[in-house]
């Protein structure tokens, strides 16, 4: 493919409709079948990805610093952040639970953000298209699993409401954390992987012509 860049559909002025998948001329402006707008690449893909990524980075701090859960029991109120929960489980020697929470709630969001940043940079520079493609697929797949924490909080808040004995309330951290996860998913979705190959092709072409 790299040797035959002219055989790209784009080289022929064709683009695939994002909605129904019909390949049609870009110059037509909209899909002749479903009337959706057609573009060669996702619109403003990199800008959108960067914007979502930066937003998620900004919210990552309150997500980890603010309490995600507030437990009010007879023994007094107690609020805990994600990290304090991990530390507590670790001290109670529930190592598997601590590791799961740490991986799902701390590591994965960070790695996802790093991965998206890498993809954005690669789309500009055209690094190793094959590896970057795999990274993209993993990123998109893993996104939804980061919501484990949010689900746990939602279930606890709904179930554990025993009045003055014990009751659980979500903290500001939970909202921030959910926002981080959603924003990283948006970022991964708005990223157009074809940019990687475009950049790779653009980098390879001058070398080929020379």
């Amino acid at each position: 493919m790299r040797e035959l860049p002219n055989e790209f559909a784009a080289a022929r002025g064709l683009a695939v409709c994002h909605v129904c998948g019909l390949a049609s001329p870009v110059s037509a402006g909209q899909c002749p079948r479903c009337r959706a707008g057609i573009h060669l690449r996702n619109r403003e893909s990199l800008q959108r990805t960067w914007a979502f990524t930066i937003a998620s980075v900004l919210l990552y701090f309150p997500a980890n610093l603010l309490p995600i859960l507030r437990v009010e029991s007879i023994a007094g109120p107690q609020s805990s952040t994600i990290i304090s929960g991990v530390i507590q489980f670790w001290h109670e020697e529930d190592y598997p639970v601590a590791i799961i929470i740490f991986v799902a709630s701390v590591m994965i969001p960070i790695l996802k953000i790093i991965a998206i940043v890498c993809l954005c940079l690669a789309a500009g520079a055209g690094w190793r298209p094959r590896g970057m493609t795999r990274l993209y697929r993993v990123t998109e797949f893993v996104g939804r699993w980061s919501m484990v924490d949010v689900f746990v909080v939602a279930i606890l808040v709904g179930v554990v409401q025993l009045g003055s004995t014990i009751s659980i309330h979500p903290g500001a951290g939970a909202v921030s954390f959910a926002a981080v996860v959603v924003l990283t998913m948006f970022a991964a979705m708005s990223f157009d992987p074809r940019l990687i190959w475009d950049a790779a092709a653009a980098r390879a072409q001058p070398a080929h012509q020379d």
Partner: protein, 523 residues
């Protein structure tokens, strides 16, 4: 058609338009940044100042968990618990909420609420389940403060409760401790809050709180006394047993009242100082403050006069003997005995006892009018003396003189006192005589005399004229008389005619008998 278009090399290549313009998607990171900033602001705005409180022990305080409460509203959380630099206590750092800033003033009281059993009853039971928490009682001051010294015991009365705070001092704590109830006519009127011992003057000082309702009853001349426990008195009326409430029986109690007869003085000010008497009786006997000292110089001995002996004016107590020692006046050439007395103004006037002038004038007037001090025996059995002040009829004019910083009340020569001493000595001697034995012996002697007299009279009765013995005796005597007469005749005959014993009686023999019966009767 599409294929034609697709494969027509003449068709222009699609315009690849790099999106140079700013996408509206950037609103999302801006919103996120605003959201994050708002959350951070909210978090830090709710944080008030951090304060440090030192305690003796951090028992029950958990860093990051123990709440700080004010009237059961959480106003902060313990952030850190550490030892003080000298390792003699703990320093608890608390992160207060923003709204608690106003509570942190100079006289704010902070203590740890734990389950406690004390004078005020059982408290802090809820902390058995919830764990200890730190209670904060705001003060009235406005000056902000961040470093506090925590109370080890909760304050007896919460700060801000209206009432009167007075100081009581006494020589002996006598079981009175913070929390001891102060009652008025059996009703709870306040509590003892603090107890401090002053080593310099040996007094125990109590901080007392009187609730606002009873505060007007505390006057400048009010007396406080201890009603702790049992009061047993054995007197002429028999055995008297007096107790206060059960609480005062167990934990001691204090009550107060006006001295009988005295009117109500001006209301006591906040922080006024009062003496705490050991009992109701003591309030009339001792005064502990602003008495007026006078020196008395006695020429005679003062044996039997001890410290604390009463000083009476015409039989009414007005003071106390404070000391008998030559050190008050060591250079007196006459070696009179100095006796220091304290005259208590509160026994003389109704004014507050700080005002001694009235009492001084009273004494000065009395001395001008002939008042003299003398020693009198208060108790004949123990020989205890007291100082009596009374007007002497023929007293020379005198005034209250000053001598070496002491005011002198002139004394009488002690004639009455000496007389009494002599009388006492006489009585002592009388008491020393073996009267009992003497009387016993005398009565025994009288008994025997009586017995003898009876015997005599019985004997005499046996010899009366009517008795047969008497008649027999007189008959016998008559016979004896006749016999003797005949014997004399015989003797006369024999004298004149000794031979008649052989030759018989002759004729014409005269018989002269000068006193014939006397010899016989003498028999």
């Amino acid at each position: 058609m599409a294929e034609d278009v697709a494969f027509d090399p003449a068709q222009p290549r699609p315009i690849v338009r790099p999106a140079r313009r700013l996408s509206p998607i950037w609103i999302i990171p801006i919103v996120a940044a605003l959201l994050g900033a708002w959350l951070a602001w909210q978090y830090y705005a709710a944080r008030g100042p951090a304060i440090t409180v030192s305690f003796e022990t951090a028992d029950g305080i958990v860093a990051g968990k123990t709440p700080v409460m004010c009237r059961s509203v959480t106003v902060g959380t313990v952030e850190n618990v550490g030892l003080t630099g000298d390792l003699k206590g703990v320093v608890v750092t608390m992160q207060m909420t923003n709204e608690a800033t106003r509570l942190l003033t100079n006289d704010t009281q902070i203590w740890v609420v734990r389950p406690r059993y004390g004078a005020g009853g059982i408290s802090g039971l809820s902390t058995l389940v919830s764990g200890s928490y730190i209670e904060l009682a705001p003060g009235a001051s406005q000056a902000p403060r961040r470093d506090f010294v925590g109370l080890e015991q909760p304050p007896v009365t919460p700060g801000g409760v209206p009432g009167l705070r007075v100081t009581l001092f006494t020589d002996e704590a006598g079981g009175i401790a913070p929390g001891t109830a102060i009652t008025y006519k059996g009703l709870s009127a306040g509590r003892i809050e603090t107890r401090v011992f002053h080593p310099d003057n040996g007094k125990v000082e109590f901080g007392a709180f009187i609730s606002a309702e009873y505060a007007p009853l505390v006057r400048a001349n009010t007396k406080f006394w201890n009603v702790s426990g049992l009061d047993v008195q054995v007197g002429a009326n028999g055995l008297q047993l007096r107790t206060g409430t059960l609480e005062s029986l167990l934990m001691g109690g204090i009550t107060f009242g006006q001295p009988s007869g005295a009117g109500s003085g001006p209301p006591a000010a906040d922080g006024a100082t009062f003496a705490l008497y050991g009992s109701l009786e003591e309030t009339t006997k001792f005064s502990m403050r602003s008495s007026v000292p006078y020196l008395l110089l006695f020429t005679g001995g003062v044996r039997g006069l001890s410290d604390g002996a009463p000083v009476e004016f015409r039989g009414v107590r007005i003071g106390t003997v404070n000391g008998v020692s030559f050190r008050y006046l060591s250079n007196d050439p006459e070696r009179r005995v100095p006796v220091l007395i304290q005259v208590d103004p509160s026994f003389i006037t109704n004014l507050p006892s700080e005002n001694t002038e009235a009492a001084e004038n009273f004494v000065a007037d009395a001395v001008r009018n002939g008042m003299r001090a003398s020693l009198k025996t208060g108790n004949l059995l123990t020989g205890q003396l007291y100082v009596d002040l009374d007007f002497q009829k023929d007293a020379p004019p005198a005034t209250v003189a000053e001598l070496e910083g002491y005011r002198l009340i002139p004394t009488t020569s002690g004639g009455l006192g000496e007389l009494q001493d002599k009388a006492t000595a006489l009585l002592d001697k009388l008491a020393g005589l073996p009267l009992d034995e003497t009387v016993r012996n005398a009565s025994a002697t009288l008994e025997s005399v009586k017995a003898m007299t009876e015997n005599l009279s019985k004997t005499a009765a046996g010899f009366s004229e009517d008795s047969p013995v008497y008649r027999q005796l007189s008959a016998t005597l008559r016979e004896l008389d006749e016999t003797l007469r005949s014997v004399r005749a015989l003797a006369d005959t024999l004298e004149q005619k000794p031979n008649s014993l052989i030759f018989g009686k002759g004729k014409s023999t005269p018989t002269p008998t000068p006193v014939p019966g006397r010899r016989g009767r003498r028999e």
